[in-house]
C-alpha cells in the first residue's frame, strides 16, 4: 500500500510537469505508471497469499528459511 502511495506521488509529479508545460507526455507517463502498478499489485498480492498459505502467518520474521 505504501508502494501505491509512492507510485501515485511519482505519477502526480509527472502530471503536474505535463500541465505546467502543456504537454500530454506527462499523462502518457502516468498511464504507464498505472499499468506497472496494476501488474505489480497482482504479483505482490499473489506472493502474499502464497506466503500465508505456506507459513500460516504474515510475520516477515517467520520467513527466514534462507538465513545463512
Amino acid at each position: 500500500m505504501s508502494l501505491e502511495v509512492m507510485l501515485n506521488a511519482a505519477g502526480l509529479a509527472f502530471v503536474v510537469a505535463g500541465s505546467r508545460w502543456h504537454q500530454a507526455d506527462g499523462q502518457v507517463m502516468f498511464v504507464f505508471i498505472l499499468a506497472m502498478a496494476a501488474a505489480e499489485v497482482a504479483v505482490g498480492l499473489a506472493l502474499v497469499l502464497q506466503i500465508y498459505h505456506r507459513f500460516k502467518s504474515l510475520d516477515v520474521d517467520a520467513i527466514s528459511e534462507m538465513r545463512g
Partner: protein, 195 residues
C-alpha cells in the same frame, strides 16, 4: 481554482498520513481509497480529466478491490468478531468527513468554472494521439509487462487452487462413470453392447 487545488491536496495529504499511521489494515484501506480519490480531484483541477477518471476507475476501483479480496482471503476461517469490531461507526467518520469534503468540491467544480490550473486543460484526445504516436513502443512494453504480471500472478497463486480443481475433476469423472463412461465413447459403447 487555486483554493480547490489546495483543499484537495490537503485532503490527500491528511488521508495519506492517517493511512500510514493506522494499525488496522481495513482502516488503512479506507483512508487509502479517500487519498486516491483526492489525488484524482487534484488531477481534475490541474486540467487532466482523462487521468483523473483513470485514477478513480483503476486505482480506487480495481486495485483497491484487489486489496480487499486479499484481505478477505487472508481472514478465511477466523471468527467474525474482529470484523464486527471493525465496522463500528466511529471508524467510518474520518474517511466519510474527508470524502464529504471531496464530494462538495466535485459538485462545486461540476457546477462552476472550468478546470485547468496553470496551462489549461489537456484533452483526452491529445493524450491518445501522444500515446499511440511517439509512445507506441511504450504501449507495447506495457502490454508485455501486464502479460508477464498475469502469468506470474497465476503461477504464484496456482498452488492454492490446485487441490479443489483436482477434486472437482475426479468428481466429474465419477459422475460420468455413473452415467455410462465418458461422453465420446458413450454412443459407441452402447451400440457395441446392443449388437
Amino acid at each position: 481554482m487555486e483554493p480547490t487545488f489546495y483543499i484537495a491536496g490537503g485532503v490527500a495529504v491528511i488521508s495519506t498520513v492517517l493511512m500510514l499511521t493506522r494499525l488496522n489494515l481495513v482502516h488503512a484501506l479506507l483512508y487509502l481509497i479517500v487519498s486516491l480519490l483526492a489525488v484524482s480531484v487534484v488531477f481534475f483541477v490541474l486540467g487532466a480529466p482523462f487521468v483523473a477518471a483513470l485514477e478513480a476507475i483503476v486505482y480506487a476501483g480495481a486495485i483497491m478491490v484487489l486489496f480487499l479480496f486479499a484481505v478477505m482471503m487472508l481472514n478465511i476461517g477466523r471468527d467474525t468478531e474482529t470484523e464486527r469490531l471493525w465496522l463500528t461507526p466511529g471508524i467510518w467518520t474520518g474517511p466519510v468527513i474527508l470524502a464529504g469534503i471531496l464530494i462538495l468540491e466535485v459538485v462545486y467544480l461540476a457546477r462552476g468554472a472550468s478546470a485547468g490550473l496553470g496551462a489549461g486543460v489537456t484533452e483526452p484526445k491529445e493524450v491518445g494521439i501522444a500515446l499511440f504516436g511517439p509512445y507506441i513502443i511504450g504501449v507495447e512494453l506495457a502490454s508485455m509487462l501486464l502479460l508477464a504480471g498475469l502469468v506470474g500472478a497465476y503461477h504464484l497463486g496456482v498452488r492454492k487452487t490446485e487441490k479443489p480443481e483436482i477434486q472437482h475433476d475426479t468428481a466429474t469423472h465419477e459422475g460420468r462413470a455413473d452415467s455410462g463412461g465418458d461422453l465420446v465413447l458413450a454412443g459407441a459403447d452402447r451400440s457395441a453392447r446392443t449388437t
